[in-house]
Symmetry: C2
Subunit: 284 residues, 2 copies
Amino acid sequence: LPGIALPETLRITDAISEAVLYADLLVVMGPSHVMRDLLKGVRSVLDGAPIVVSAAKGIEERTLLRMTEVVVDVLGAALDGRVTALSGPSFAREIALGMPTAVTAASVNPGTCRYVQDAFRTPSFRVYSSNDPIGVEIGGAAKNIVAIATGVSDGLGFGGSSRAALITRGVAEIGRLVEAMGGDPRTVSGLSGVGDIVLTCTGDLSRNRTVGLRLGRGERLDDVLAGMAMVAEGIRNTLSVCELARRVGVEMPIVEQVRQLLYEDKPPRQVLCEFMRRESKPEF
Amino acid sequence: LPGIALPETLRITDAISEAVLYADLLVVMGPSHVMRDLLKGVRSVLDGAPIVVSAAKGIEERTLLRMTEVVVDVLGAALDGRVTALSGPSFAREIALGMPTAVTAASVNPGTCRYVQDAFRTPSFRVYSSNDPIGVEIGGAAKNIVAIATGVSDGLGFGGSSRAALITRGVAEIGRLVEAMGGDPRTVSGLSGVGDIVLTCTGDLSRNRTVGLRLGRGERLDDVLAGMAMVAEGIRNTLSVCELARRVGVEMPIVEQVRQLLYEDKPPRQVLCEFMRRESKPEF
């Protein structure tokens, strides 16, 4: 973060043992497809059972596990009640500048939530607790797909009404998936869902939104990806979320249209029109 | 709408009897404080019981009635199952240009919903049904207050994270009010709530957002209002929504802070900080 001084008490290391050994609390973070290897490195030096906070977003590809499930899968069942998913609308630079920010800490164990709330809270950084890591993590993964869809709409030159409709209907279909997986659909209307979706879909900083925007303007996916240093998480997650939806028998029309856009070369305009053309329905 | 031709079949009149008599479906629309008088005009010429679609937003000041309740109060109980609230993220210009738009039609009578869905639907205008006019109309009124709050945050120079937090926590407190009033809190996560809030809080066209923005930048409320042809609906609704919340015993910290900003001259920075400084809480 150029221009922002890190605290002098902060020690930075690339020796995983130094970072992990004797830690009371670990924060783990990275793209979803590297988390398993990163955690294997942690396991090789871990002693004891610290609180583990996952700030990673996404669904692991082959296994379809959420990130906190990958943590327990690799580090062992002793960590089950000690893992927390931290998620919500937050840009690192804005937090560092002390701008008001609010996020959610989700764990099945209320004591773990309270520990994480106390550890992270500052006068400008508010941490809400949730007992629904399913809702928080599925929302965190699926919002990237909605960000691609809203980017497509913006790229086609459609307006704020179209974008607001996609965001809202995206939230509704993610809620259906969360409920079918045993989570609470209300969670998706919270910071880790609606909050993060609003930030991602209206800011200009999101890789996922940029992918949609450029596809909407008529560029080819190969060309869009060629110019990006990192693959947008939403591209990976589209297949995982489609597969999860199929398994639990939930219809996700926006995610399905994004899948056809990315993986079957469906024209962007057709993707959006298909979504509008469906039967008149009850909203919930 | 400059540049957009109205259909030739459309007849425009200022004779209320011509507009109302023999109509199968009436759309009524206006600022919340003029609706009662407008409807009295309708009553004086009404013959029969048409479907009435209210596109008005807000809570009537003294009575604290929702707009569809004002319709029934003035036009008579015969209209009870024939009134619909139509609400959702939609700019007239974007609809006229055929940009994809989705809204909610809410009535306690499913048949009335279907009638309105069929009457309004086009290939680019999607109408979802809802059986929860309380949720749709309370959300439609309270979202203007959240728009003022996000304007304040933007005006103070805070970032996208702050705005997303206010939108999300605003949705949560509106959901609590809706539930306490006998509506469904899920409705607030739909088009008439989240969808419209996203459009209002991120577009630059909203009077309510503009009021907050200018207050956040340090202008005085009197000066802001002096330059506006119409009073922003949110300013009126702040008192009504506070009063509704008090009656049903629901805490609405964002609405309460906006009330103190508008009616007690509380400084904008303090308004936002107060909201952040509260106890760590469960998200729902």
